[in-house]
Amino acid sequence: MALSLYRAIAGPTVLDRLIGVNAIGSKTTVLLIIIGLLYHRVDMFVDIALAYAMLNFIAVLAASRYFQKKKGMVDSTGEMKQ
């Protein structure tokens, strides 16, 4: 986790950070359930983990979407991909 965090913080480009954050997200999901175990109330934490998994996805999606569009904005050459 700390290593992902390192990538997230030190990563030379935004996308490296994005990878790091994504990795943190998936680890956090697991960690949440482990915490639930420690509290003996897993049923409560599952919901959070689920929500977490979903929203982690959104964040990553949004950030990557940024590039998809911004790139196009910069050189709106007209043609599609590649």
């Binding site: 990538r7 994005l18 999901t29 897993v42 689920l50 996805f57 998809q68 790139k71």
Partner: protein
């Protein structure tokens, strides 16, 4: 019995996580970093969550079973989203025009990405 399986799986999952993290750090360029990040993490999630699901159903009640099912639900969810996210990131990378690392010019372009 379940305890042992659980801990083995959990350990494996954590091992994959570790591998993923190290991979993220060690790999030379953005694209190759995505490989460990995308794969190893989803594997880690799969294993750990299965372990936890198993652990949950140790005492089998309806509630616990549903909880375990929910955990499996999370797993499947992650399995749908994780490749998509990986794809989204790599697509973004392509569009952002990040340079590819290849063997020939790794000496000078190692950590220098636009």
């Amino acid at each position: 019995m379940i305890d042992i399986i659980t801990s083995i799986l959990l350990f494996l999952g954590l091992f994959f996580f570790l591998g993923g993290s190290i991979g993220i750090i060690r790999f030379p360029d953005f694209y190759s970093r995505l490989h460990p990040a995308g794969k190893l993490d989803s594997m880690g999630v799969l294993l750990s969550l299965c372990a936890l699901a198993l652990y949950t159903v140790k005492s089998l009640t309806m509630g616990n079973f549903l909880t375990a099912a929910k955990i499996i639900f999370i797993v499947s969810f992650v399995f749908i989203t994780s490749p998509t996210a990986t794809h989204a990131i790599i697509d973004a990378g392509m569009r952002a025009g990040l340079k590819h690392w290849n063997k020939n010019n790794n000496q000078d372009k190692k950590e220098e990405k636009p």
